[in-house]
């Protein structure tokens, strides 16, 4: 059967993508950020995932205010990089896993999570920047990626608890897939940041570090954080962190934290990154 071997989470700052695309990664400012992901590439390669569930949010790219799905599962064979105003990022097309995605949709919806099924979608930096951070800049992404787009732009996003429970349902779906697959769940977004209004630039490293600690050891505590607290303590856009809880919900209660990195800033945002392994998955 398919099984979840590990979870990873990382911020998905667009400027990180721009630094890669414009070949600025050697500049001291960007070295500080990218050096934190050197070990990541090795660890992910050792994990040998066959499929990634990529949890991210769309930033007024594939979806506009015309349609705002709370949870949208990408069931297409492929997802081209979107033109976000500067031409599509020069990264490989994201290949999906339509058979597994269809199975997940069927299982998760009957588990009472009403996913939107998306059969045509372009993906923006929210998904492609984390793939760069995990894999660098290969000609093709090394494995299929099933995108799960979460609304965190129009308030209210789903609650942290709801996200965690969706992770549980994802796990059940994956473990009922007959083929042997090593699945990595990837949460993206955050950490503390506010990019709008007079309070823009807010960073709260204390909040972020406590979030990382609890993500490893006591994630249920995080499911109780109300939206107001994310916004007040860590910035209006820090609410993206609920997406990390989908990843965490898909893992075992007890996990091994195998890597962590944190730096401030990348552009306007605190960059956080963590890799958690399921013990029984080894």
């Amino acid at each position: 059967m398919a099984r979840i071997i590990a979870g990873a989470a990382t911020s998905h700052v667009p400027a990180i993508g721009a630094a890669i695309d414009n070949k600025k990664t050697d500049q001291p400012y960007w070295q500080r950020v990218f050096s934190g992901f050197e070990k990541t590439k090795q660890l992910i390669a050792e994990l040998r995932p066959d499929v990634i569930i990529g949890i991210y949010n769309d930033h007024a790219t594939a979806f506009s205010v015309e349609v705002v799905p709370t949870f949208a599962l990408g069931c297409a064979p492929e997802f081209p990089p979107a033109d976000e105003g500067w031409g599509p990022r020069p990264v490989p097309v994201v290949k999906g896993h339509p058979e597994l995605a269809a199975h997940i949709a069927q299982s998760v919806i009957l588990d009472e999570f009403d996913l939107t099924i998306v059969n045509r979608m372009e993906v923006d930096h929210g998904l492609t920047v984390p793939l760069n951070l995990l894999f660098g800049s290969p000609q093709q992404w090394p494995c299929p990626v099933i995108p799960l787009a979460v609304n965190v732009v129009l308030y209210p996003p789903p609650t942290g608890h709801r996200c965690f429970m969706l992770g549980r349902a994802l796990r059940k779906a994956i473990e009922s897939w007959p083929q042997d697959l090593r699945v990595l769940v990837l949460g993206t977004g955050g950490m503390s940041h506010q990019i709008s209004g007079p309070r823009a630039g807010l960073i709260n490293s204390e909040f972020d570090k406590a979030f990382l600690d609890n993500l490893s050891r006591d994630p249920k505590k995080l499911t109780q954080i109300p939206h107001l607290q994310y916004m007040r303590e860590a910035g209006a856009e820090a609410i993206e962190l609920v997406m990390w809880l989908i990843m965490r919900g898909a893992l075992d209660d007890q996990v091994d934290e195998v890597y962590r990195f944190y730096t401030v800033p990348a552009s306007n945002t605190a960059v956080g990154h963590i890799i958690l392994e399921n013990r029984r998955g080894k």
Partner: protein, 133 residues
């Protein structure tokens, strides 16, 4: 009908893009979305006020766009991921817009970020500056 007060309205310097603002700002955000197409950017640049007539905007919303008053756009229902497309059309980086919204120069805003960002201390609540969420 006046906007119903929400508990997050107590967060200083923050316009939460909620369902009510989304309804109110639909025209602003659809205008910004239209700027993803080059032909629309050209038409907008040729005659801004005329181009804005294609969208359901109140006079206040249209004026905020013409004035490039980014905070006012947020207050009237614009969302930052959309209004950033207007900024990009004007050739501005995101950090330029962020600095503009905070009333800082881009240089001092960038320096603040490098020094660890804006502290949450004193920035949590309008009612009680030090209150924890």
């Amino acid at each position: 009908m006046p906007r119903k007060e929400q508990e997050y309205d107590d967060i200083p310097g923050t316009f939460v893009f909620d369902a009510e603002r989304s309804r109110q700002g639909y025209g602003i955000n659809m205008f910004c979305m239209s700027l993803m197409k080059d032909e629309n950017r050209k038409a907008f640049r040729a005659n801004e006020a005329q181009y804005l007539k294609r969208f359901p905007l109140t006079p206040e919303q249209a004026q905020a766009i013409l004035d490039r008053d980014y905070n006012r756009m947020l207050e009237l229902g614009g969302n930052i991921y959309y209004t950033a497309k207007l900024g990009a059309t004007d050739g501005h980086s995101f950090q330029h817009l962020a600095a503009l919204m905070t009333g800082m120069t881009q240089e001092s805003y960038a320096a603040m970020m490098l020094a660890g960002g804006r502290s949450v201390e004193g920035n949590r609540s309008k009612k009680g500056g030090a209150k924890r969420g």
